[in-house]
Structure formats: structure tokens, C-alpha cells
Point group: C2
Chain length 388, copies 2
DNA sequence: CTGAAAGCGCTTACAG
DNA sequence: CTGAAAGCGCTTACAG
């Protein structure tokens, strides 16, 4: 079967194919009447004007034949010979998290333009899985790695760096390792300034996992901006959480259990915000009227929710693309610098209709009304606008 | 650097490492004082009781040393020699669709138990990308493929099958190619029976892409159950759509534009349902009170929405796992059969509070109340319960 | 029970 | 401009 199914586009059985019937370099060379080394040189030639690895006619013949038989080099042979695989390993907490999936799409897209393929693995933010999956990926002889699941302390990453594996981080930073992140401190500030501007003073934070720089920095930025405005966010109203809806639910329950209902909540992740909204609904609080909620990332769904979610948009796809480019530069041996991309606030109904010291913030910032197709129309004007 | 960073766990530089300083089979053999062929035989030996490829003491010594130096076989060398890569290629429409991401997690998890790694690629359901990504994956010499983006006509897949590439389908079926799907016809029926049982008669369907068996079968099952109950679903109220929130929005707008407001809508995908809910909200219709909405898949978010979404749960993760097992069996040369997994209805607030001929459906089916942590509490009893 | 050889499909100095 | 050789790290009959 193998010998009969894989044929060149030219039809007919080919000489010197591999066991699966695919054409090899030898197939091309033989058909062109040249030595395989000549075929190799021609096919790998950087198409510069000055350099030539064979006469024009020979080169053209080889290329034509390669094309006709559908030659594609065996990556195992190439990899064995060159000890380069054109493979990168990507570790993420979970691909079902749309934030990471979007980042990964950017990585995949950008690495493909360099002729690289990617292995992705989920680690669930579990240190044991991180080690195990990293070893598995390394055993595949990837040329480099991108970690989307860094712990802020970075002990494991130091170790990997010590073994000489080139890598970059994405989404989360750790130590001095090169990373591409959102400016999370700024993002937290944007959320705080928005809520403060609307007159909120009793604020709570659903802060994410304590080991992730995203949650840490967003929370820090939020609290810093509050402090500058003379507003304190007490420890009891800053609770850690998973980044998913369930995490948001649990955190919101804990905050409400404090007995002390905030007038607005900042969740460092949209899905956590959705979970929080569910709890608030069950508690009889109308989000966007009785209480404000701000999320982070601006996932596509945020604007389509029954109550549109005000959120801080982070350039997820772009982060993935940039991380891929950064890794490619590292693989070329260049010295690289970390990059921090700028977030922006997207105001929607979950904060714009709340009846606390409203200050005309409506329409402020990008995306407020004319935003994405999924954006939420503004609510009717709140009843008691009280300009600052 | 290379020579100094990669060392065995035993410390010290190793002899006969690869260019990156990793131990090779030769490293192990040399250290054990045997020929590399002996080391290879021992390390690859299926640990059966009868068969031995070396004396006990020799075997143990080789294994101990391999372990100590952290030997892992070079997959390029193994692949070149055996023409097997232990790699599978996975094509999906989009990994940012949590449905596909969940399926992929199942695939990845299950293939890993066989020592396989996976390449995933997004095709965006674009036929050109499908071809291009398939060729790219095949050029990596995968042993088999899993397609999550099959078109119902399956022309492209027939071609791939004709080239002798072993593959299975997941999520969507096509032609006679082996597939693991949800019983989508049954799922559509469950949705219809639920709505009919609640007294709904003016039904609409957001049917998904016309080339995807998921949407086709769910719609067919829905309409068949309606027909059997003597309820007609006119063509004008069955509209195709993308599977995302934006697709659901567009479809709902189109349905409403018909001038003829349904009393319930079945969307073949939860995210499309969320998009539809957004449009209904904007149109001043209260979902779960003025109009019923049913989705499909039961993504984690469904139960956390401000109005909990009634939906048909499909075993997404399980589908991925089964598809992986099915492919592995194909790779062993076994004859395989398609599998169809059973869906179940999860009633929530988006249908349980609607004021049309209510029939005591509350509490029917699994997951109605005691469901996931994210499930939505039932609404207060509707005002005019009218048993069938 | 173990070794020696051949060869998988490439690339890369090195000759000529 | 082109060929010939060596070798990447394995596995697998084949001897002995």
C-alpha cells in the first residue's frame, strides 16, 4: 500500500522513496541526474543574487522536479543532522482559558511564519505538571520554549535557564527572564481610576492566584491608584481566587461573607468577574445598578453579557505574537529586552448605571459605545448624577 | 557552553554527548561497558517475564546508568530509523472556542498516555487553511491525524484518506470516515422536547454553519421532534450562523427582523445562545420570562450567566479522549467503528420561568438544580402553570 | 547473551 | 559548478 498511495503530483511511482512512499532528496536528485548533495545545496540555498550553489539550469531543474514530486524534507533527518528541530514548546495553565488560547493563537501564527511548529501543553498551574511537561517537551528536542504559566518566584525557570534552554515568558513575568506582558500595573490603575471617577469608595478586589504576576500587578496598580486618591482598600476586601468563573464565585462569596458589601468590585479576570456577577445576582444585587463590576482582558463575550462587562482590554493576541518574535530573536543569539504592552479601559453597563456619585464618566475612554459589535448599549442615565 | 550546561544528574561531563551536551545512547553504552546495540535492546525491551535482551545484571546496569545520566532518546534519530514519529496532528476550527479547546485537552491527555505528542493548528473552518495546515502537519511526519473541523461533504478528507494517512474525526462527522461525535440528533430532540413540554409552539433555531454536521444534526433532531408533536418550525425561523457570540447575535437579529417573534429559540451552540441573549436584551425581551433560550454544550460559563442558560450538555472532554483512543487503534491497524456519545438536557432559568403553557418540567433531567457549582438557582415558579 | 554492521534521509566541509 | 564522503543517533536483523 505505502508504495502505491504516496506518489508525486506527476503521477506514477517514484524511485528511491521512503518506506511510506514519499519522495526523498534522493528521488529528486536521481530524477534530475545530480548528486544528492547538489540537490540539497540547491533546495536549501538562500535565494540571494550573488550566491549560487549550482548552475542556473541545474538549479531550476532540481527545483522544478522537487515541486513536481511534492518533495518535503524529512524533518527527522534534518533534525538529526543539524540538531535543530524548528520546534518550540509552549506551556500554558489551561488552553480552555480563552485568554491563554488567544495568546497561543498569536504564538502559533507568528512562529509559523518562521517555519516553526509548536507543541502546547497544559500544566494547570501545577508545579509537578510544569516540570513533567517541560521535560516531555524538551525530550522532543524543541529549539526553545515559551512559558505562559510562570510563577512569580521563578525558581523552576532559573533552573531551566541554568540548563541552557532558551525561553521567553508570556502573560506573566518572573525574575529577570525576558517576558512579554500587559502593563498590568497600569491596567489595575485604569480600573481604579474609572471606579473612583464614578464616585465609588467601598472597593473590593478579586485578586487571582497569589503566584501569578498578572493578578499581583493588577491588584497593586489598583490599590496604588486608590491610595493616591485617599481611598483605602482593606485587606479583607482583597481576596485571592482562581482565574475562572468558579474562582470568581468563591471569592465573591467570601467578600460578601465579610458582612460589608462593597459598592464596586474589580476582578483581575473577566471570567472571575462573570462568576462574581452570578453570586451578586443570587444575592439580589443588580450588577450595574446596585453594584459596579470591572473585569480584565475584554474577552469577546464581555460585551455580549446580559449586563455588558466593563473591563480592561489587554492585547492578548499581540502578546503571543510578540513573545514568538522575542523567542526567535533569542534563538538567533540576540540579547533581548522584556516588553510591556499597553491596556485600555472599556466601560460598559456593569459600571455605568450604578447610583453612586456618578460623575459623567459615560463615554469616557475608547470603546465605550462604538466598541466591538458585541458591545453593550449604555443604560438609561442614572437617576442622581452627582458631578465630582 | 553546550558542553558544560547539559550534564547528567550524576554531575560531571559525560562522554559522547550530542552537540548540545545531552547524553546519547553511546554515552550510556560506554559507561556500562556494552555495545550501543545492547543498550538499545535493553532500553526498548518490553518488560515481559520471558523475553530478555540481556542478562539481568547487564540490563539493570544499563537502566541504572540511563536513569542517572538522564538519557532520553533523540526522537529525530528514532523517527528516522523507524519512520514513526509518535506524533499526531490535530486540526480545529479555532482553539479559542472553548468547545474545541476542551476536546483538544482530552486528545492531548489521552495521546500522552501512549507516549504521543500533538501538533494543533487552527483552520478557522477555511478550506484553504485546512489544506495548507494539513500539508504542514504531514510534512512533520505525524503518524496520524485528528480533524475537528470536518466539512459534511468530506471531499478533502476523502483525498487525504486516499493518500493513506490514518485519521479520525472528532466533534463533526463526514461520510463514512470514523468519527467520535455527540449524538447531535438526540441532543436536538432533547432541546425540542424540553421546549414543547413547557408549552412553546413558536420556535426558532440558530442553526450554526451549514457545512458542520453538529449544527445540521442538532437542527434535524430538533425539527423532527417538533414535527412529531405536530409543531412546524418554518424555514424563516431557522437561520444559519457562526458558532460564536457574534454569529448568534447576527442570527437573532435576522430572526427578529422577520417581524414574527418566537416564544423560544434553540441555538446549536452556547456562545451563539449568549449572542442571541444579548440581542433579545437589547430588544427589550427578558430571557427566561418573555422568551426561552436553549443552548448546546453546557460550557462552564452557562450556569454562571446572569440568567442561567438551559442547554444540552455534550461530553466534550470525553469526545477528545475517545477520538485519541480510536486513532491509536487505527494506527495499530485495527478496524474501527464511529462512536456517538449521549448528551443530556440541563434546564436552567433561561427557559424555566417563561410564561407559556408551563408543564412541570422543572427538575426534569440531570443537572437541573444540583448541577455544577456554577449552576443557577431556579427562578420563582411561573405565574400560570398549565399542565399539558 | 552480546557485538558488529548496515542504513534511515539529510547536510556540510572538502576536493577537484 | 558538482561530486563523494562522513556522520548525526538510533534500531534491527544477523552472527556467533
Amino acid at each position: 500500500m505505502a508504495g502505491s498511495v504516496h506518489r508525486g503530483a506527476g503521477g506514477g511511482d517514484l524511485p528511491f522513496t521512503d518506506p511510506a512512499g514519499r519522495p526523498t532528496l534522493r528521488t529528486v536528485a536521481e530524477l534530475a541526474g545530480v548528486h544528492v548533495s547538489t540537490a540539497s545545496r540547491v533546495l536549501n540555498q538562500v535565494s540571494g543574487p550573488g550566491v549560487r550553489s549550482a548552475s542556473r539550469t541545474t538549479s531550476e531543474r532540481i527545483r522544478r522536479i522537487a515541486q513536481r514530486v511534492g518533495y518535503s524534507p524529512n524533518p527527522h533527518a534534518t533534525g538529526l543532522r543539524t540538531s535543530r528541530s524548528n520546534l518550540v514548546g509552549v506551556l500554558v495553565p489551561r488552553l480552555v482559558d480563552i485568554v491563554l488560547a488567544t495568546i497561543y493563537e498569536g504564538i502559533e501564527e507568528a512562529t509559523a511564519t518562521y517555519g516553526f511548529s509548536t507543541f502546547v501543553a497544559n500544566t494547570g498551574d501545577d508545579p509537578v505538571a510544569q516540570r513533567q511537561r517541560t521535560e516531555m517537551v524538551l525530550a522532543r528536542r524543541v529549539d526553545g520554549m515559551i512559558f505562559g504559566d510562570a510563577y512569580i518566584d521563578g525558581g523552576f525557570l532559573d533552573e531551566i535557564a541554568g540548563r541552557g534552554v532558551p525561553f521567553v515568558l508570556v502573560s506573566r513575568r518572573a525574575g529577570a527572564h525576558p517576558s512579554v506582558t500587559c502593563d498590568d500595573v497600569l491596567g489595575g490603575r485604569l480600573a481604579a481610576e474609572h471606579l473612583l471617577g464614578l464616585g465609588h469608595r467601598r472597593l473590593a478586589v478579586i485578586a487571582g492566584e497569589p503566584y501569578a504576576s498578572t493578578g499581583i500587578d493588577r491588584t497593586a496598580g489598583f490599590r496604588a491608584a486608590c491610595a493616591e486618591a485617599g481611598v483605602e482598600v482593606p485587606e479583607a476586601r482583597v481576596v485571592h481566587s482562581g482565574f475562572d468563573t468558579e474562582g470568581g464565585r468563591a471569592a465573591m462569596v467570601e467578600i460578601l461573607a465579610g458582612g460589608d458589601v462593597p459598592d464596586a468590585v474589580f476582578a483581575v479576570n473577566d471570567f472571575a468577574a462573570v462568576g462574581a456577577m452570578g453570586v451578586l445576582r443570587d444575592a439580589g444585587l443588580a450588577v450595574g445598578r446596585d453594584i459596579g463590576v470591572v473585569g480584565f482582558n475584554d474577552v469577546p463575550l464581555a460585551g455580549s453579557l446580559p449586563v455588558g462587562l466593563t473591563t480592561v482590554r489587554s492585547p492578548m493576541h499581540e502578546m503571543g505574537v510578540r513573545a514568538a518574535h522575542l523567542l526567535m530573536r533569542r534563538l538567533r543569539g540576540e540579547q533581548v529586552e522584556s516588553e510591556r504592552l499597553v491596556p485600555s479601559l472599556v466601560p460598559r453597563a456593569s459600571t455605568l448605571g450604578v447610583e453612586v456619585g456618578w460623575s459623567g464618566a459615560r463615554g469616557v475612554g475608547p470603546g465605550s459605545g462604538a466598541g466591538a459589535p458585541g458591545s453593550t448599549p449604555d443604560r438609561p442615565a442614572p437617576r442622581t448624577p452627582t458631578p465630582r
